[in-house]
């Protein structure tokens, strides 16, 4: 097939050679076009409507069925499908046609696209790019203005009722939606237009799902998410899946796409339209520090002894117990870690209104934040503290030279700060400082 047999749908800028490879079999054709025009063009080849068997297509490009099986195993693992589903996935994906996708970006920061294009499991994502045709995407497309909009309209017309609509960013409703427009049209108008002919919609990121940061109080633009618009009847109701997160896990986007392409429907969702395979558990339930929560071993401040030992960050405001997401399972940055594992509390970015829930470092349950200690353990601590007090001649040090009498509760803090004057350096562990505090309190 030559270049003339291919119909240009939407020129797409290629982000690195990896993207070029992902785009698929027509790469050679538009490389030829690039050499002539210096514009990389994404060509939508004419074989697409003929629904080719993708396994045959992959085989032609040197990808074995064993490799395809590996890809399906990884995809099934991500989707939390039972092992028996791998066979179905192989069968379904092997006979799928390329799915046209229109990706709309509204009030957003492009973080969701950044997340998606930095997927760390190319065994899944690379192949997925062979399964869909990204016909419109602000960040990745080369053209702008009327050409870009024309390509979108052309794709919508040719694949009426069959294309998948992906939305990231919130939609402003205040003052007629003038806070965000594309080509002179409001986001709402564009979403309404694209939603009419869409087979299904994926809302990517907390902004598209819940309104996100643009909806933070006082929400000056009247930002809302896609589901709210469907519920209000402002756009057509279509099958919808929500992938919240700021941004969502790369694997969340790609695995839901894999499921849709393979089975023609979305995976099972909860009452917020979130896939149960990814959002069915809280971060807390799968957290690598969960055992320390059960053992009531908490970090009390950053870089204390508990922090160095990897204890639970609950007292530092961790939202893991309230946040439904799979960060603890799939992790970030090539599977290296996730915020809690790296020593920072979960901010709860996948939950509605996470930005308006008070300070990020305030414990989510103030009553729980007082670590329950028995009378006996306090007595033991005070006894240990007395030994420390006497053995280290704390009594002859001026804990706070600026005050006649220091509040005993403040002494461990002052000692931790390292700002006190002392003729002898006192080096206590955090646990010892707590014991010292208990002893000083008991002397009141």
């Amino acid at each position: 097939m030559g270049f003339r047999d291919c119909q240009v749908v939407a020129p797409i800028a290629l982000v690195g050679c990896d993207w070029a490879r992902r785009i698929g079999r027509c790469y050679h054709e538009y490389r030829a076009a690039y050499s002539r025009t210096n514009v990389l063009a994404y060509v939508h080849c004419s074989v697409m409507p003929k629904h080719p068997a993708l396994t045959r297509d992959l085989s032609g490009r040197g990808i074995s069925r064993r490799a395809f099986l590996k890809f399906c195993s990884v995809a099934a693992s991500v989707l939390a499908l039972p092992p028996e589903a791998v066979g179905s996935l192989v069968e379904s994906l092997g006979h799928s046609a390329r799915l046209p996708i229109i990706w709309l970006s509204f009030q957003e920061c492009t973080g969701c696209t950044e997340s998606f294009t930095r997927s760390h499991a190319p065994a899944v994502e690379d192949l997925l790019f062979d399964y869909f045709s990204l016909d419109y995407h602000h960040t990745l497309q080369a053209p702008s203005g009327a050409d870009a909009e024309s390509a979108r309209l052309d794709s919508m017309r040719r694949f009426q009722g069959r294309y998948l609509l992906i939305v990231d960013g919130s939609i402003p409703l205040a003052r007629g939606g003038v806070y965000s427009t594309i080509g002179g049209r409001t986001n709402l108008a564009m979403l309404k237009e694209c939603g009419e002919g869409a087979a299904a919609v994926i809302a990517v990121g907390s902004c598209a799902v819940f309104g996100g940061l643009p909806a933070a109080s006082p929400n000056p633009t009247g930002a809302v998410g896609v589901l709210a618009l469907m519920e209000q009847g402002l756009i057509a109701k279509r099958p919808l899946v929500n992938l919240p997160g700021c941004p969502p896990l790369p694997i969340a986007i790609s695995s839901v796409l894999a499921h849709y392409i393979a089975f023609g429907r979305f995976p099972a969702v909860d009452d917020m339209q979130r896939p149960l395979s990814l959002y069915g558990n809280t971060v807390h339930e799968r957290c690598s520090r969960f055992r320390f929560f059960e053992e009531r071993k908490f970090v009390k401040q950053f870089d204390d002894e508990g922090a160095r030992k990897g204890w639970c960050l609950y007292l530092l405001g961790c939202r893991g117990p309230l946040t439904h997401n799979a960060c603890a399972v799939h992790k970030w940055n090539q599977g290296t870690s996730f915020p809690i594992e790296s020593g920072h509390p979960c901010l709860g970015c996948a939950e509605p209104g996470f930005w308006d829930r008070g300070g990020f470092y305030r414990c989510i349950d103030e009553t729980e934040c007082t670590v329950d200690e028995s009378h006996e353990s306090r007595e033991d601590a005070a006894s240990e503290g007395q030994n420390l007090y006497e053995d280290n001649c704390v009594y002859c040090h001026s804990i706070d030279p600026g005050a006649l009498r220091t509040d005993p509760n403040q002494i461990p803090h002052l000692l931790r700060s390292g700002e006190i004057r002392s003729h002898r350096r006192l080096q206590f562990s955090d646990e010892q400082l707590d014991q010292l505090g208990e002893y000083l309190k008991s002397r009141k």
Binding site: S77, R291, V329
Partner: protein, 144 residues
């Protein structure tokens, strides 16, 4: 190897060996039940270790416990994959890596032979066709 691995950071584990066995023991019991099902009913099981939270050291402890058996195979497709039988026959560790040698899946398969090791019927058919085509008269002459 990831560049991150080159950063000389070591997080010492301050917990005792007994404390580290957080998920190892329940998983070993699950593997035992699966092996029993395989033995009596021929039913295979796959356990996805990525979906299980492991405190530092717990995953290695599990793999160490399972040990290494007689079979080890490497698959070179979309990155490397290592498939090895553990010291318990029928219990396999399957580790899939991508092209950048980053792990994308870690599974325990309780089965006679992991499916990914078997030659696929379509590949066998293709292999037959290619071999038939290559055994042309010219090639035969070369061999003779």
């Amino acid at each position: 190897m990831s560049i991150l691995d080159n950063i000389p950071v070591h997080i010492p584990s301050s917990v005792s060996t007994a404390d580290r066995a957080y998920n190892t023991l329940p998983l070993l019991h699950e593997i035992r039940h699966a092996l029993e099902r395989l033995s009596r009913e021929g039913e295979s099981t796959i356990l996805d270790l990525r979906a299980i939270p492991f405190p530092p050291g717990d995953e290695q402890r599990l793999l160490d416990y399972l040990g290494t058996g007689e079979v080890e195979a490497q698959l070179h497709a979309l990155g490397n994959s290592l498939i090895r039988e553990t010291r318990y026959s029928g219990v396999w560790v399957v580790e899939h890596k991508n092209g950048d040698d980053e792990r994308v899946a870690l599974q325990i398969e309780i089965t006679s032979v992991p499916a990914i090791l078997r030659a696929q019927p379509e590949d066998i058919e293709e292999g037959l066709n290619r071999l038939t085509a290559s055994l042309s008269a010219d090639v035969k002459e070369d061999l003779v």
